[in-house]
Subunit: 168 residues, 3 copies
C-alpha cells in the first residue's frame, strides 16, 4: 500500500483531481491531546476529528471560530466544514501515503457548534461532504450524522471525523 514505485505506476486519480481543483492540503495538525491522528484496523482507517479553529487568515484572525447562528453565518460555517475536510484529507494522505488509496469514504461525523436549537447542521456539514464528492466522486459518497453541539475544541465552528476504507 505504501510502495511508492507501485503508486507511480497507478493512475493517480484523486491526487490529480485535488490538484486540478487547485487545492493544497494543510499540514497535519499536532493532536490537541494524548491521542494520534489516525489508526488503521483491517482495511478501515479511523481518523481523529479535525477542528476548523486551526485555520488562520494572513492577518492572524480566525474565521472558523465561534458559534454558527451567532458569531458565524451559515456560509462561514460551511467554509469551516470544507476546511475541516481538507485537514482530514491531509491526515488520509499522511496515513496512506496518497489519497489515491482511498476506496471509499465510509462515514462522516459532523459536529457544528451552533446556537441553542440550531437546525442547519446538515447544510453546514455539506461543506465537508461536497468536497469529498468533488475529490473522490462515487468513492466519496458517504453515510453521515450531523448534529449541533454546545462547544468544540478551541472554539471551533465545526469538527469533522471520518472513517475511510482503503485498498490493501
Amino acid at each position: 500500500m505504501l510502495n511508492k514505485e507501485q503508486l507511480s505506476l497507478e493512475q493517480s486519480v484523486f491526487e490529480k483531481r485535488l490538484s486540478g481543483l487547485g487545492i493544497v492540503l494543510p499540514d497535519v495538525p499536532k493532536p490537541l491531546g494524548s491521542y494520534v491522528p489516525w489508526v488503521m484496523s483491517g482495511n478501515l482507517l479511523y481518523l481523529s476529528g479535525s477542528v476548523s479553529s486551526l485555520y488562520q487568515n494572513p492577518d492572524g484572525s480566525h474565521p472558523f471560530i465561534g458559534a454558527a447562528g451567532r458569531e458565524r453565518t451559515l456560509e462561514e460555517a460551511q467554509a469551516a466544514a470544507r476546511y475541516a475536510a481538507m485537514v482530514q484529507m491531509a491526515v488520509i494522505r499522511d496515513a496512506l501515503g496518497s489519497i489515491d488509496w482511498v476506496k471509499r469514504i465510509v462515514f462522516v461525523s459532523g459536529f457544528v457548534w451552533g446556537v441553542e436549537g440550531f437546525t442547519d447542521s446538515p447544510k453546514v456539514i455539506n461543506g465537508a461532504s461536497d468536497l469529498y464528492g468533488e475529490v473522490f466522486g462515487e468513492a466519496g459518497r458517504h453515510a453521515r450524522a450531523a448534529v449541533s453541539v454546545s462547544g468544540l475544541p478551541g472554539g471551533a465552528t465545526v469538527e469533522v471525523q471520518t472513517i475511510v476504507e482503503f485498498d490493501v
Copy 2:
C-alpha cells in the same frame, strides 16, 4: 445477499415479526445533504442518521420536533426515538433487500435535542433500542451511546444512527 428467490426460501423471521407487530416502515427519506443513506464496508452496514422531524401527523403537525424537557415530554421524545429507529429499519431494508439479512445490530448512536442539562437521554433512546429488541430479538441487542445535544437537523427531537452486521 440480494437474491430474491433465495430470500423467499429462507424463513423470513424479522420481516414476519415486524408485520406481526403491525409496523409498516416509512419511506427511505431523501438525504438532507450531499451524502447517501447507507454505505457497506465488509459485512458492516453504516447508516446515515435518521431524524424524527420528518414525521408528520395527518393534520400536518410535527409531533417530533422541539427540545425534550421544553416543547416535548419524555413520552413524546421516546416516540420520536421509536420513529427514528423505524426509519433506520427502512434504510436497512433498502440496503439489504430485507431486514431478514440482519445478523446483529452492532451499535446505536442516539442524539436527543434536550434542554441544557437534560439527563434522560437513555430513557429517550430506549424508544429506539426497545424497538430493535422487539423486532430482532437477540440479534437486536446492541451497544450504545446516548447524549443530549443543543440542536438537531430540522429541529428534530431525536436522531438515531446505527451500525449493522449483515449475513454475507
Copy 3:
C-alpha cells in the same frame, strides 16, 4: 480467546501494568436502558458509552456530576474522564476475559457536559486517553473525537465510548 489456561500461560502484560499502577477496576455497570455493555463484530469490540455519574465518594457525594466550567473544574472533569475510561476497561475485561487480549484501542468518542461554548473538551478527555496510554502503551494510542454537549445521562460530567481491536 476466553481459554483461561491459555491466558495463564501468556505474559499478562496489560493486567500486570494495571495492577502495578494500583488500579482496581470498578464493576461493570448495569446498562441504563435496553442495550448491552458490548458487542463483538469481527475482531472489533464496540463498547457502550460509560458515564462518570456512577462514581460515588464514601460519603455518598457524586464528584463527577455537573457541567464542566460551572459545577466542575477542569481537574475534576479530567478525573471524571479517567474514571469513565476505568469503567470502559472493566467492560473490556468482561468481554474478553482479560484486558491482555487488547490489540489496539482504535477509537475513543469523548463527550463532555460543558457550559455553552466550552472549549476544553480535549484537555478533559485526555484524562481518559492518558490512562489508556499508561496501561496499553503503544496499543493504547487511539484516534479520537472530543466534543462538548448540553447534557449527559444522569448529569454525568463525561461519557467515554471506545472501539477496541482484540486478538482472535
